[in-house]
């Protein structure tokens, strides 16, 4: 093993703001966001791609933050849970719907669910319940039993179709 662990400087945009920071080669994107940039809203559950808690958007698409290396995010646009609300703190329609419909209990899985659904509802604004349940199949929640999450997602889709914006 080398004396110093391999590392390099990367530049990327996170939630609209450009960051340049040094990361170990082996750091996952999720670890880099948390430890390198202090954005601890992205949660790590299983760290092998199953639970979905670490889901972030890279160039607008939902990916597992634990299965992508930070060095692979060089030059990319990353959106985390911290980037979903408006600059003045106004919740996005999706976030508001989760609050209104009790779409979370402990909240650990919520960042991954909100990032996943942000991309999904953007691409599928007319999604119905079976489609939303399948879209959520990559996010594990151990509190809610999913019903309130699905209800919140349907309410958010409805609100966005009626013109609500972030």
């Amino acid at each position: 093993m080398p004396d110093a662990l391999p590392e390099r400087r990367i530049t990327l945009t996170v939630n609209g703001k450009e960051h340049s920071a040094v990361t170990e080669d082996r750091y996952s994107l999720a670890d880099f966001l948390r430890h390198g940039l202090g954005l601890t809203g992205t949660h790590l559950g299983c760290e092998h791609g199953v639970c979905g808690a670490c889901t972030v958007l890279v160039d607008g698409e939902a990916v597992r933050g634990c299965l992508m290396l930070a060095v692979q995010a060089e030059g990319r646009q990353v959106t985390t849970i911290e980037g979903l609300a408006g600059d003045d703190g106004t919740l996005s329609p999706l976030q508001a719907a989760f609050m209104d419909n009790h779409g979370l209990q402990c909240g650990f899985c919520t960042p991954g669910i909100l990032t996943t659904l942000t991309a999904y509802l953007r691409d599928n604004p007319d999604a119905d319940e079976p489609e939303l349940r399948e879209a959520l199949s990559g996010n594990i929640c151990r509190c809610t039993g999913y019903d309130t999450i699905v209800r919140a997602a349907l309410a958010a889709a409805d609100a966005m179709r009626k013109g609500a914006t972030a």
Partner: protein
């Protein structure tokens, strides 16, 4: 939980990746990372060098010409799932790819990565076997082609030599009038299938089956083409009795058993899935013949 330390190498071209693969010791190729990164996080796999193929655009993309389909190894699973031309000429791919993980993993996961990982329950190797595909492996010494039938050497052991990079998967599309079906059974959508079945069927002008291909996944070390089932379909008129006989035949085949799924349960599942899959593929074959 972090991977053991390694040095990351960004390959900008296939030639550069091949040179790295030939010269770096204890190196692994990184494609979508949806299996390899998980194994590295768990330290099942520890490497000194990781060669990232993601920037290598020349091995990504879908080409369809003269009935031949070529998928670049770095084509994302989501791209295969959503490609309109592919859905027209090979509709079974869309049906099967919908079962590959979840949207978050399909956004990163690749065709080549799935073929190189070669999980016994994986849908993409199953599709490659069903379509009689050919795999191209490229190294500094040139390209080598391997038939999918010969490619699995054992449990999660593909025929890839040191220094070789899986670059394409290619196969002949079926005639436009054909029937298809893919289905599987898993505890949760996107989980590893306990068993899965894919079927392709064509009918002659009298409505009899004149070509049949079947694949099973998740039941053995790699994808299985049951030639006995395929042979018994030829010349037959589709019927419930025929599909039941095929299901009964497959349920007698020795299969893997594990702590969660006994061999008997897997055989039962495979038999039911095969019966339903053949029935639906024949319905679709009939519909497409009269379209």
């Amino acid at each position: 939980m972090k991977p053991a330390p390694f040095t990351y190498h960004r390959a900008e071209s296939l030639a550069e990746a091949a040179e790295m693969a030939a010269t770096l010791d204890n190196a692994r190729l990184l494609s979508g990372g949806q299996s390899l990164m998980a194994m590295m996080n768990l330290r099942y796999v520890a490497v000194d060098h990781l060669i990232d193929l993601n920037p290598v655009a020349e091995i990504a993309g879908i080409t369809i010409g003269s009935g031949r389909v070529t998928l670049g190894a770095m084509t994302r699973q989501r791209t295969v799932l959503e490609d309109a031309a592919l859905a027209t000429c090979c509709p079974i791919l869309r049906e099967a790819l919908g079962f590959v993980g979840h949207v978050q993993t399909r956004n990163r996961g690749t065709v080549g990565g799935s073929l190189a990982h070669l999980d016994p329950a994986a849908e993409l190797p199953g599709m490659a076997a069903l379509l009689g595909a050919e795999i191209t492996l490229t190294s500094q010494d040139g390209a080598r082609r391997v038939a999918m039938a010969d490619y699995p050497l054992g449990y999660m052991t593909p025929d890839i030599n040191e220094g070789e990079i899986l670059t394409t998967l290619s196969f002949d599309a079926w005639p436009s009038a054909h029937g298809w079906d893919f289905r599987e059974f898993a505890q949760r959508h996107g989980d590893f299938a306990m068993a899965g079945v894919g079927s392709l069927i064509t009918l002659d002008t009298d409505g009899r089956i004149d070509r049949a291909a079947v694949v099973l996944i998740g039941v053995d070390d790699g994808p299985v083409r049951p030639t006995d089932v395929e042979a018994m379909m030829i010349g037959e008129t589709p019927s419930d009795a025929l599909f039941r006989a095929a299901g009964a035949l497959i349920a007698e085949r020795p299969m893997a058993g594990d702590a969660l799924v006994t061999e008997a349960y897997r055989q039962h599942l495979a038999g039911v899935l095969l019966r339903r899959s053949l029935a639906n593929a024949c319905v679709r074959a009939s519909e497409s013949a009269h379209a």
